[in-house]
Structures are given as C-alpha cells and as structure tokens.
C-alpha cells in the first residue's frame, strides 16, 4: 500500500470511474473534473480515440508488465443482483442441506457396517449345514395407508444392511390388514400350546441333513429376536401374545371363525333350503383365497426346517414342509370338545420369548403432512442413526427386562394417523352398506337363474357366463375377511387403545437395550 498512497483519488472511485470514462471519453474527452482529465491525459499516451485505460496503481501497476491482461488487473468483483442472490442462496442451502444429510447417512451406515461386519466373516459353525441367527420382523400396516408394507420397507432401508453385514437372517411375514400380526402370533402360539398338550400333531420332521429338532429350533428362535417396527406392531404383537398365552387352547382359525359368522347371518338365506348351500359349505374351507389365509397357513409353525436343507438335492423338495403344516387344523377340529378345563390355564411360568427390538417408525401421508415430509427428507440422518442403533442393539444382543415405560414407545407417532385412518370403522360401515345394497339384487338374480326361473340376459349370453350364487358367497367372504379383519385390528391399533399388558410380564419379556447416544459417539470417535 505504500506505493498507492501518492494517488488515492483514482483508486477509491475506481469501480465507477472506468465505466464513466468509457462512456464519456469517446464523445467528449473532458466532461469530468479537471483532475480526472489531467490523469486521463497523462495515462492515455497511445490512443486518444479509445477510452483511456484505468491507471493501475500499486502492485497492479507492477503486474501490468508481466503480461497479465489489463482487464484482469482492473477487474472488481461485485455482488450479483438481489434476485440472483436470493436464487443462489436458496439453491445452495437446499442442496447443501441435502448433500450434508446424505453424506452423514452414508457415513453412519458405513461406520456401523464396519463395526459389525466382522461377525459376518466368522466361519459358520457346522459347516455348510449350520445356520445363523434369525430374527422375525413384524411391520404393521400404517393406519390410513393403502401401502401395507411401508413398515417393512422402512426396516429394509434402515436396519437390514447391518443385519446383512452381521450375517443375521431375517423373516418378513406380511401383514396385509390391521390385526394381521395379532392373528398370526395368536395362531402360532396356539399351535405351540396345543402341540405341547398333544392336541395337535407335531409337524412331521423331515429326514434331511441340516434339519433341526424342535428343541433346537426353539432355542434358535430364542437366540434370534423379534423386531417390532412402529407402535402399531407393538400393540398388535402384544395383543397376540395376550390372546395366545392367556386364552384357552380351543382350536381356533380366524378365517373359519369369520366363515361361521357369515354362515349364520342370513344374507344368503332363502325361502326354501337348497342343496347349494351345503355345497358351498363344503367347498369354501378348501379355498385359500385371501392373503390372510396363506399367511395363516404358513405361520403356525415358524420352523426353520422349511428353509434349511441346503445340501445335496434336498432343496428340490423344499416347498413340501409348508404344505404338511396346513393339515393341523383339520386334525385338531376333531379333538375339540374333550379338552379338560385345566388345560386352558396358561402355563406358569410362561415359556421364554425371544427378546424384542422396538424400532421407531413414523409415516407421513396426506396433504397436511407435506411439511413433515419435507422436513424428514432433509433429516434422513436421524432415521439412519436410529436404524443403526437399533441394529447394533440387535446384533450385540444386550437385553434387559421390559418395563412399563416401554409401553409408551413411539406414542407421539400416533398423532400422525390421518382422518381416513381415524374414521376407518365408519368408512368400512359405509362400504359394507353399499356392498350389501348392491348384493341383494344380484343374489336374487343368481338364485332365479339357478332355480331355472329366468333365462340368460343379453349381456350374459355375450360373455357366456352367469354369476353363480357360490361365486357371490366367495366374493362376499373375501370382502368380509378384509373388513372384519381391519375392524378388529383397528380396535387394537387405534390411538385410544392401550398396549395389551398383563401383570408379571415385566419379568417375562425382554427388550434389546439400545446403545446410548454417547456410547455410539465414543465408538465412532475411536474409529
């Protein structure tokens, strides 16, 4: 700055001065003050027509001899216009927030995977016939969401990668309706109790290498764990436990119970009894039409044998075990009446259960929750962190007894149920009314045709088929299964309902201890 002191006036107004000089110099060489004219005359010795270049001072004048273009030396940065500033600020902060968030996500994910992947690289005990730890993941339907596997997708996105790295296998049973988890858990517990009492035959043990005995299966199950995604899953699972363990051991099949209700309600009642009713009654139990029925058939014995014969040609016969399981309800139906009353008393102490992992989950749907969706889009890292913590808890398998505080798990997420969810019973009622209003004439038509009192209509002749009474029955059964299942499930899941709980459960159930934030933080620091 020492050299620039002799001529301070030209440097200070220089942002404006070159422009002024450029515009004015061509037409009138001396419009400005006398001082500026003198400077211009002194500086512009080469050309008088062109605008006089700004005089360089200080280090710039020194640099002008090195070949750096004049325009570079005289360049003065200035802020873009207001609108551009607004645009760039918003764009940069949004993309910065997004980028930072996703980078954090990747960092957390990679860090956690690095912490656990050693377990995946251990040698499998028992050679190729051995099996690893296996957890069951329950993800309940979110109220008001048509997408039924939202919770499971959440699990797959935020927890699964670590389980894969740590070589923990997982089962993802589907739960297409509210209350599906309750029913599946209930059915499997009931099957277990009945098998223990000898009311039901044990599922046949396949004589294949690598198939575990029931005790070993049970042991593996206890080592495994249960992941409950979200509060709805917790409620449904606990209700299932309560129904299964504290209820009686009478044979129970959800679909059949609904069917028997439908048989007696008289929608298909007719003036004179017909044989087709009997036909329908014979045919329907064999039909496994809804997703619920397939799931309930697959669940009663959650036995790893069905997926565990990996040697030789054993895999060719893999689908058979699940088929054999479905024979149990028919066998149990005959043994129904002669159960001694003391068998209904729940076992004491209750058999050990696999520890539970409570994974927080919330889901935003609907127009009013768009701000929450946007916020969650930029805060993915917290969910990744939660998922990683949960996975670590599961993998490290540190358990503690459940406490009553755990029943308040994720309670705030229930506030996000939208109107469609809260009005579910009403909506089902309306749908049911509409359906039955439309059904009555169809029943009459079908019956009239089957009795031979009417001919085919034009439309029916064209398509070549007539709707039969049995088809209507089947259709109605499917609809009622959905409706009744959802209604029953919503009673369990709805925000007003409490989590099912019995005295003494705090000594019975266990949950995985989540690692504290600081412990995870310290371990990341070590890394």
């Amino acid at each position: 700055m020492a050299e620039s002191t002799p001529s301070p006036p030209p440097t200070n107004p220089s942002p404006a001065a070159p422009a002024a000089a450029a515009t004015s110099a061509g037409t009138n060489p001396s419009p400005g003050p006398a001082a500026k004219g003198a400077i211009n005359a002194a500086a512009a010795s080469a050309s008088t027509v062109k605008p006089a270049p700004v005089e360089l001072t200080g280090f710039r004048s020194a640099l002008s001899h090195t070949g750096i273009p004049h325009s570079v030396l005289t360049w003065k940065p200035k802020l873009p216009s207001r609108n551009w500033l607004i645009f760039w600020t918003i764009t940069a902060s949004l993309s910065g927030a997004y980028y930072y968030d996703r980078r954090e996500c990747n960092r957390i994910k990679e860090e956690t995977i690095r912490m656990v992947e050693g377990r995946g690289r251990e040698v499998l005990e028992g050679g190729s016939l051995g099996s690893t730890r296996r957890v069951t993941v329950w993800g309940a339907k979110w109220g008001g969401d048509e997408d039924t596997d939202r919770a499971l997708r959440y699990f797959r996105k935020y927890v699964k990668p670590y389980l894969v790295a740590a070589a923990i296998d997982y089962d993802l049973p589907t739960s297409p309706l509210h209350g599906s988890i309750t029913r599946q858990v209930h059915a499997s517990i009931l099957a277990q109790r009945r098998q223990a009492l000898g009311l039901e035959p044990l599922p046949p043990l396949l004589s294949l290498p690598g198939v575990l005995s029931p005790e070993e299966t049970r042991k593996k199950e206890l080592e495994g764990g249960v992941v409950l995604v979200g509060r709805a899953s917790l409620k449904e699972y606990f209700e299932g436990l309560r129904r299964g363990w504290t209820g009686g051991v009478d044979a129970w099949d959800w679909e059949k119970s609904i069917e028997s209700k439908l048989e007696t309600d008289g929608v298909f009642a007719e003036p004179k009894p017909e044989t087709e009713v009997l036909d329908a009654a014979v045919e329907t139990p064999g039909e496994a039409a809804t997703p619920e029925s397939t799931e309930s058939a697959a669940i009663p014995a959650p036995s790893p044998p069905s997926t565990k014969p990996p040697t030789g040609l054993g895999f060719l016969s893999r689908p058979t075990p699940s088929v054999t399981n479905s024979s149990s309800p028919s066998a149990s139906a005959s043994a129904g009446p002669q159960i001694p009353p003391h068998w209904h008393i729940p076992p004491n102490p209750l058999p050990a259960q696999p520890p539970l992992l409570l994974l927080p989950f919330e889901n935003h749907i609907g127009f009013t929750q768009i701000p929450a969706m946007i916020a969650s889009f930029f805060n993915e890292r917290y969910r990744v962190r939660e998922g990683a913590d949960a996975a670590l808890a599961l993998i490290n398998s540190e358990v503690r007894p459940i406490s009553k505080d755990d029943l308040g798990f994720d309670k705030k997420t229930e506030g996000y149920y939208n109107k469609a969810a809260l009005e579910l019973p009403k909506r089902i009622g309306e749908a049911r009314k509409d359906y039955y209003d439309a059904l009555a004439p169809r029943i009459n038509e079908a019956r009239a045709y089957e009795n031979g009192t009417r001919e085919m209509t034009e439309e029916e002749k064209k398509s070549g088929k007539v709707v039969k009474l049995d088809e209507l029955k089947e259709e109605r059964k499917k609809k009622e299964l959905r409706w009744m299942g959802n209604e029953e499930g919503w009673e369990i899941v709805k925000p007003q309902a409490e989590v099912a709980w019995n005295e003494g459960w705090e000594n019975w159930l266990k949950v995985f201890e989540l690692p504290g934030r600081q412990s995870v933080g310290s371990s990341t620091k070590v890394e």
């Binding site: 377990r119 995946g120 690289r121 251990e122 040698v123 499998l124 099996s131 070589a167 990996p310």
Partner: protein
C-alpha cells in the same frame, strides 16, 4: 426324481418306451440347467463379490455367505416358480387362441 430311475430300471428290463425316456431326459436336462443357473448366480452374488478381500479366505462358508446363499436360493426358486406359472398361463392362453404371445 424317482420316476427317472424307475424309467432306467425298466429300460434295463428291456421294455423301453422311447417317449418316456425322452421326457425323462428332457426333465433331467431341465433340472440340471436350473441347478447350474442357481449355482452360477448365487456364487457370483455371494461368494466372489469382493475378489480383493475375503474371497475364499476360509475353507468353510462364512456366516455372511451362508445367509446370502440361503436367501439367494430361496429367491431363485421363488422367481423360478413365478416365471413357470406365468409361462404355463401364457401357454394355456396360446393353446386357447392358437398363437403364442401375439
């Protein structure tokens, strides 16, 4: 599989039904093909995923590999079944209409 060997025994006795042998051979080819595909895809997915690191470090399966293979096999058969169902449905439709896939 038993019918395959049954067919072989009968051929040893002398009463050969060439059509049945043909069918059995086709069946065996198909199963072998499925098996080979299964092995190839699951091996590529699970065993040699990172050749630099941890490929065949141990003589036995690693836990991660075992889980991967389990799931891969299950998925393979699931897909196989679904494709088979779809193909047979298409075949039935083709028989009904007289042309395949048009």
């Amino acid at each position: 599989m038993s019918f395959l060997f049954g067919g072989n025994n009968r051929s040893a006795e002398g009463s050969v039904d060439p059509a049945k042998i043909e069918m059995a051979v086709a069946e065996l080819d198909m199963i072998t093909d499925v098996f080979n595909r299964l092995v190839t895809s699951c091996h590529t997915k699970c065993i040699s995923q990172n050749p630099q690191n941890h490929r065949y470090v141990e003589g036995d399966l690693l836990k991660g590999e075992s889980v991967c293979i389990d799931r891969c096999t299950a998925k393979f058969f699931e897909v196989n079944k679904k494709v088979g169902e779809r193909m047979s449905a298409m075949g039935n439709a083709a028989q009904a209409t007289g042309s395949f896939g048009r």
